[in-house]
Point group: C2
Chain length 333, copies 2
């Protein structure tokens, strides 16, 4: 067996902690460092924070500068959704000579004004000979990499539709906040208009699909509506009263030749009774795939983060995306 991949956990929020648990029980990968800015976590053993059998000997530090002598290959980065905000962190990790696998949604497939930051990060990664990759359940799998993979058997593809219904009540608090759970309708609308309440990643998934299919899009429309609670919903973190916002119903539609060719519909709200993921690929053959109970978000995001970490070194240096990564499948050892 090859020697285990040595990783640094950077960011110990709910996803980072879950990833640390996965790494702790997997043979082919080992944590050699951990970083978080939270004073309540700094100085403690990683096993203590992530609640796995320890001590692990890996103590949480406030920055990678506090990890002298630690020889790691990959950083598992999980601190935020917005590329402009996490950019200094990514840069520091790349400059330290680490491959970086990140859950930053905007990094998964940089579009719009983020392409400039992406180009700079790409350049830093190439100079240091390392790979930077954004991943997660969505963006990164459910609405982009998986439908792309399914088209492996397609002779022709004329349109792609993905529908995901996800119970935000089972997700981490930051995500429940991000979809506006517990807000009044007016406040929700104000935050949607300010771009502060939404699932981050729909636009990115649309573009990854379009580029994979070789489609030049004419325009992309995105709508974000509130899903209102019909009855009181209580999660581990908050309570939503009837009439308050339970979450988002977000639709991204991409047009080519005057007709919609990509439709991504996401319902993510607390109290969603039946979770599911469905994919329709029109063309030859017609494909309709259904994940019976959906892909559980936070479990899957930490899973794919760890799996991608074991594969990332196989890619050429630079900013890479899930559409080009060889299957980052699970491996027991």
């Amino acid at each position: 067996m090859a020697s285990p991949v040595r990783v640094i956990h950077y960011g110990l929020g709910p996803i980072g902690i879950e990833a640390a648990r996965v790494v702790s029980r997997r043979a082919g990968i080992v944590a050699v460092g951990a970083v978080d800015k939270d004073p309540a976590k700094i100085g403690r053993d990683l096993a203590d924070i992530a609640d796995f059998p320890g001590p692990s000997g890996t103590v949480v530090r406030s920055s990678i500068a506090d990890l002298p002598g630690v020889s790691a290959e990959v950083a598992l980065h999980s601190t935020g959704s917005y590329l402009a905000e996490v950019r200094p962190q990514l840069e520091e990790l790349l400059l330290a000579g680490l491959h970086v696998v990140s859950t930053c949604e905007e990094l998964s497939y940089p579009v719009g004004e983020r392409t400039e930051i992406a180009a700079e990060l790409d350049s830093v990664a190439k100079k240091r000979g390392v790979v930077l990759l954004g991943t997660g359940i969505n963006p990164g799998f459910a609405m982009d990499a998986l439908p792309i993979f399914l088209t492996s058997i397609s002779q022709d593809v004329t349109s792609i539709t993905v529908k995901r219904v996800n119970d935000a009540g089972k997700r981490r608090l930051p995500l429940q906040r991000k979809v506006g759970a517990g807000l009044e309708k007016e406040e929700f609308q104000r935050l949607v208009d300010a771009g502060k309440v939404r699932h981050v990643g729909l636009r990115e998934s649309v573009q990854m699909l379009a580029d994979a299919m070789g489609w030049e899009l004419e325009r992309v429309e995105e709508t974000t509506a509130a899903v209102l609670a019909r009855e009181r919903v209580t999660t581990a973190y908050l309570t939503v009263e009837p009439g308050q916002v339970a979450g988002v119903h977000q639709v991204g539609t991409a047009f080519m030749g005057g007709r919609p060719v990509i439709t991504l519909e996401l319902q993510m709200y607390v109290g969603a009774a039946k979770e599911s993921d469905e994919i329709w690929i029109e063309g030859r053959p017609q494909l309709h795939l259904r994940s019976e109970d959906g892909f559980p978000g936070d479990i899957a995001t930490s899973g794919i983060l760890v799996n991608a970490a074991t594969r990332v070194a196989s890619l050429p240096p630079g900013l890479r995306t899930m559409k080009d990564l060889p299957p980052a499948h699970y491996r027991s050892s």
Copy 2:
């Protein structure tokens, strides 16, 4: 746009012809040669044989030696299921400096006594700096590459089960013969015992899954039973009377630590009313995926053959498998 991938169609049976049709309408790939041993096809234009608008200018020849001056990159090889039989063809194509993408089932993931031939082909491919890849819907996707891809989101995997129900009546005649459609039960059993009636590829899919998961299997069991026709079934090629064999019910089970960790169950028979593909991945998370009407075999096999042909040059030289190929997704151009 990059210049189109130049291919040779090697073998113009039902799959090869269908692949030629796909290539004829795809921008990023172009046929520059065609080879078949059938005297009824030799000397005719490919468009005539594959029934697409022509003439294409590509005339079918009896061997690649009859294609002087043809500069191709990839051969789409589709002539047979058994590696020992197609080996001289593969060798000739590799020695000619061509990447080869083949529908030979035993090539998809060589096991048992085929590993020796595989090692020799690998060595030839490496010497010539080209890639050899076996692909198709099954083996190559439905029961191996797709479940492997799904485990990208898995923290832990404890077992994998795949069930495929496929109507052989919609498939090509060679496949209908391969599953024993129209045989009497005794004759079926005789041919099963001789290894001449079966779906080829189950053992290969089992091993691809096991190696991807990093599982050391203790043993693999394979059973092949007849599915008998309850009523008369007529396909485009043959008629099956009630009580005759309609096809196979084949199960491959792999054991580790005394318990089954991989179960592949295939029902492939003429007259299957409801086609489907289902995948269960036990572990964390539990996953259950269902393709509502199944993956249509011959359409999908020719689709993945063409898609893989456009991607194969990205792999390092040698014998490669679908478990390591970056997503060979559809691309319009």
